[in-house]
Symmetry: D2
Subunit: 337 residues, 4 copies
């Protein structure tokens, strides 16, 4: 941390600020310039809140040098993490292909989609049981009944399942039945929930908040990790921008950036990002070419009658064709799956 | 709702889409133009999810005409709502002046600030017991101990209290002790929590999400109202923009817009918005001039040693001076308090 | 400027970076910490491009300490600037009330509006002759004919005129006839035009770009000032945000922030910001309460038949009523006009 | 265009609005619903400004159905356009690989880079002569001298050249010497310049504005096309988002969206978007996988001593390796080059 003092700060005040810094367990190094005085803070600044210094009347700015996260930081964990989702490995060259309907509707629907997706190469099954909806009047998902359907399909088809948790109330049943617990964009900074996720044994798929910066997103992963669960997969699902033609803007730069800053696997969700099925094909290819560790794609056998987000779902035959093309791209970038 | 069909949609397909609309309980009216066919949907479209139509292969766009909210809508409730916070009325000319420290630290601290704030004209006391922090390593608030301190100060000073709830786990104790339950920006779309707030008897102070649109924000109020609790106060606290000099950008247009769209009271939090104490003065005045129903201002007796956000807190003497100036502005716009 | 080196940078590389800095005319001061090495650059860093250092393989980050602007910087010019617009002083307590139609349509129209606006207290007349329009098929303004109309009205009514310049091609005629040359949001970073504005004698009204940060905006003023013309007035006209209900979001925090960072006058345009006439009243009051040096308000005698942006124009009688109310607010914040 | 009237609009007012619409050369079709009356406007609405109706006291909303652009619209020009840049075809399967330094520095520098880039497969040479810089104190480019250097290298190496035009003042010399005239992000809505570009014979590379929507961007292309020059190539170069770790966020969804809405070629600039050389590799691959018609990549033989943006430049050997890998991706998506 670097603390820039206001011009013409007196020696007494410099000493006072140094004293304040030292009380937090940090060492100091003062740089006296013609137009400014700067104090370098030396030590573990991760655990010190910079706002404590900002408020001092002699302090002009506080600048970060170190990233504020530790457990998720690649600097302290240089190898890629590999997250094991009930036997499916994700990360470090192992790709997750998560497919399934936006919402769980019926057992037959999920079963049919799951079988087709598996045949096309998907290795994880997704389906929403609890749905976060902007309007209280929209379909809110089948809830526990939906979870049961997913679980039965998993037993029949043999694909581990991914589904969204919206409240700590259901954490026990999710831990029992769900192989990869998804936290949605709107709960990325539900800090209370994040802390509780640290206590479960299941891996977590942490979606990026609609306007989260990389650092905020990684800090939310850090919440889970610092609470005891280091099995976190990051999922980019589009950020809000001024463009309203697409639902959100997919940020594929997140792949190389997150791989530099963290060791966690990065999965891309092109279905939610654009909100249109005809964007999924090119964005899935782009994600694989850019080095993603996996994809999360909505597949529905009857999108025109889907209860939710049919507009962004691929039909099984389109998904099958896409998976074949993705194989060629993966080979071109030196990956196999 | 207006549904625009793709160019050259066949009569059969127009009829099929009409049939689909009618199945949702709406009437239809078809407009055949040279370059487009449009279907007007007539009836209560609030409870119909437009995405169901978007996915149809003959549909180009679905356009909303009515707002998707009912209970919060001024069209169906023309008079201003007045929310009663344990005897303090807010709305329709009655102003809330909510003051207090960002975080509850000690009983003596809160007591001293509360007495000073009350003497200056504040009618509600704020203080954070549970603090949403981006980093798991930052001070997270005193929790239930902080709530107890607030409650004791309330009993001694006689100001109803406002504090943030972060988890449904503590809803019972908040209902018992807290006069106005605050929901923070990061939980504005924690839909599960919103539904549970519908069941409590205490009024809710609903802060705007960092990038929420007016409609999304009102829809979150609608969640609470539709679940049974119509006592909601909206609180603008700044939105994220590209400007990084200030923490957030205060959107004062929200005042006239929300007053047109809804009947709920609108309170402004200039302390969090800018994140700098020297912005509070001018923004508080602007908010009152623009017609806000109240202000939420951080006041701290020792900002330089505050555990959280001291940089945005006013000292009691500055708050006192500000309250006197606000009175002059309020008079100039025809309000008294 | 502070340069943070990568962890474990060798002594040779530290020396090499120091050498690089010194070649740019700056002194250096090295801070060696356990986890980082930092070099403080001492001297006039305004004229050194930080990107030159960023690219060095030993450099991790370059952090600014000083603002990159000089002439516009309040630190070097502590008193408020007062800009003289053909006798109308703006800044340091002197307020500009700029009123008139969005587009110049006819001589009679502008004359009628100008007389009414003047009677209500406006001291500058606005009107668009050259109109920046998103579509090539929209009305582009009357051009030079519009400028002539404005000029004739000015001679008849005696109000100095403000109008937008879109191209250096017309700079001579603007310098001759226009009292305050407006540069629109879309040309805020038309650097070529900015340089040419430095050579004219007329003051410049520089609107904020749709997504300009304060620093970028001030740097555009600096372009004009560094080219020779220090008479710049800054005009906030709303920034683009995710909110689509209003055209843009008016950023009133810009008033106290710009007053702290620069010595230039700050004028607010509530008409363009919201794009709706019924937002003008409350936002104009808020701007005056927050300490603006002036307002720019669209007034039209027949908004329903205006050729451009009628939706955001006040009728003369509404403007008259507003001016009276603004007087009361101005008095409440200790200003008179 | 669909015009939604306010609730309870009288028959007389409906008739009046219809009359207003008809005066603009459109037909009308009125839909009377229980809660709303809607008027469908039939005819060529591209040339009618919707704001004319918005202002009417009986009108609630005006909704667009047709896109506001014609010449750039794929609906009226279903085949891909192929733009010929002095013999290099771009679009419809023909890819542009534009490489070169950010700024032209010396003849030897540009020559060396050009030879290397050509050997690696680049078919167009870029280099900045006039540089748009946020600060008046930053290096502004060599200007006409830089243009001469580029032109001489072109004659020696045989690569057509691409460089940015910042002012109409130099349009003649650009038309003479530059094969593809680049318009930068900050001038995307310099409408005056766009109109003049319609009169030149050279093709135009139109970069997306920092926060332009797809529609605004296409409308700027439409300005050039409507003024007489239909040879426009669109170039995505990143949009501003809240993420500050990267300079901008590359929007690769722009590729499939623009290909659906327009027939113009789409080129991606991964160097400017991220602002870091180590992002270029993965984003270039992603762009090709997603179907881009070309790439614009900064290549510099000595990035550490580049006068501008060295941090985002690839060294020739890295560019060479990338081009080989891009070939594999292009083959995987069925393209050859």
């Amino acid at each position: 941390m670097i603390i820039v003092l206001k011009p013409n700060t007196s020696k007494e005040n410099v000493a006072r600020v140094e004293e304040l810094i030292k009380r937090k367990g940090l060492d100091t190094h003062v740089v006296n310039g013609a137009e400014m005085t700067v104090i370098g803070c030396i030590g573990d600044t991760t655990r010190v809140d910079p706002k404590i210094f900002e408020v001092d009347s002699s302090v002009d700015k506080v600048m970060h040098v170190q990233e504020p996260y530790k457990l998720a930081n690649r600097a302290f964990h240089p190898e890629d993490s590999v997250v094991d989702v009930s036997g499916v490995k994700v990360g470090s060259g192992n790709m997750a292909f998560i497919a399934g309907p936006c919402s769980v509707e019926t057992f037959d629907q999920v079963l049919e989609i799951a079988k087709a997706a598996k045949a096309s190469g998907a290795n994880l099954l997704r389906g929403g049981a609890f749905k976060p909806r902007t309007s209280p009047y929209s379909f809110q998902g089948l809830g526990l009944e939906g979870l049961d359907i997913l679980y039965k399909v998993k037993e029949e088809v043999g694909l581990p399942i991914v589904t969204e948790l919206m409240s700590a109330e259901y954490l026990d049943i999710f831990e029992e039945k769900v192989d990869l617990i998804q936290i949605g964009a709107r709960n990325m900074q539900n800090f209370d929930l994040l802390k509780q996720l640290g206590k479960v044994k299941r891996p977590i798929l942490l979606k990026r908040g609609l306007n989260a910066t990389y650092e905020e997103w990684i800090m939310s992963a850090e919440y889970i990790m610092a609470s005891g669960n280091e099995n976190v997969i990051l999922c980019e699902r589009g950020i809000r921008t001024f463009e309203s033609y697409t639902r959100n803007t997919l940020d594929l730069q997140s792949i190389p950036v997150l791989k530099k800053l963290t060791h966690l696997p990065v999965v891309i969700d092109p279905s939610h990002a654009g909100g249109k099925w005809w964007l999924v094909d090119s964005m899935a290819k782009a994600a694989v070419a850019a080095g993603a560790d996996g994809l999360m794609i909505e597949v529905h056998n009857d999108p025109e009658n889907a209860l939710c987000d049919g507009a962004q779902s691929l039909k099984p035959e389109k998904f099958d064709k896409l998976m074949k093309e993705l194989t060629a791209i993966a080979n071109a970038v030196g990956k196999t799956f």
